[in-house]
Amino acid sequence: MSGRVLVGVKRVIDYAVKIRVKPDHSGVVTDGVKHSMNPFCEIAVEEAVKLKEKKLIKEVVAVSCGPQQVQETIRTALAMGADRGIHVEVSGKDYDNMGPLQVSKIMAALAKKEEAQLVILGKQAIDDDCNQTGQMTAALLDWPQGTFASEVTLEGDKVKVVREIDGGLETIKINTPAVVTADLRLNTPRYATLPNIMKAKKKKIANVKPADLGVDMASRVEVLRVDEPPQRQAGMKVETVEDLVGKLKEAGRI
């Protein structure tokens, strides 16, 4: 096995920023807004770096798709301990329409090209909340998948994954190569401090185009409209149970 792990990272609007919808309802305001690495992607990078520190794998490659700015996100991954980066250049209309299908095709092509042993992704992005890229990548590669991982252990040529599911925890053992998606409690990501960012400047980021990987970026999904969630109505206080029943009947609820 090559001992190489591919980690996908996504540049998203920072989790602490208040999202505003564009006046024409075509999308969300992104110009001049603070962006950072998707929190679940940070957890994915941390897991890959931990595996490398335990000497279970040899190389961590960080991948991101998008315009020039995603290089900052790749640099953050390099500062956290990734060895090199791959920037898949996607811009303009292709980037606006880019979704899990296109990204997973790119990840699958790269996983084959780099002969990756493991592909680790965040379980979902906090901007689109799709939770599809990991699953689609595994399907395209015909690789087993360990999604919502809260614990990953390499055991020879197999991977033991403890998954967080609705009923509790599920432990599965899958063959490598495999795709794993990181859940919140997988680990505690390290902060990319300034000295690490400086050191990471020496690491290489390769540039690739989707066409080089033979990926068609056409989207089958069209965003019709984006709206803000409905404003939360104020609650009402009532004095007695009779009042409550009366108000509920008024509202047509009972």
Partner: protein, 83 residues
């Protein structure tokens, strides 16, 4: 100025300044207090005292990292996991 320590102090200052960008009360708030704290101790010469203060600065840096992690963790937990 103790020369090798000066480089360490500057490195600490730059590191804290970088960390302060994400400070919840605003990076300006953090930067003003950081400058005030460093200029207050400008005239200290004793190398041991300087080392102690650098250690305290590194402790503050760790505390900031912990703060940022907890904020993010709690936000994600609240948004994605039913309480």
């Amino acid at each position: 100025m103790a020369n090798p320590l000066r480089a360490e102090v500057v490195k600490l200052y730059k590191n804290l300044l970088y960390l302060g960008r994400e400070y919840p009360k605003g990076s300006d708030y953090f930067r003003d207090r950081l400058r005030a704290a460093f200029t207050k101790n400008k005239s200290v010469q004793d190398p041991q005292k300087i080392k102690d203060m650098i250690a305290r600065g590194e402790y503050v840096a760790k505390e900031l990292e912990a703060l940022y992690y907890l904020r993010k963790y709690r936000a994600m937990k609240k948004r994605y996991y039913e309480e």
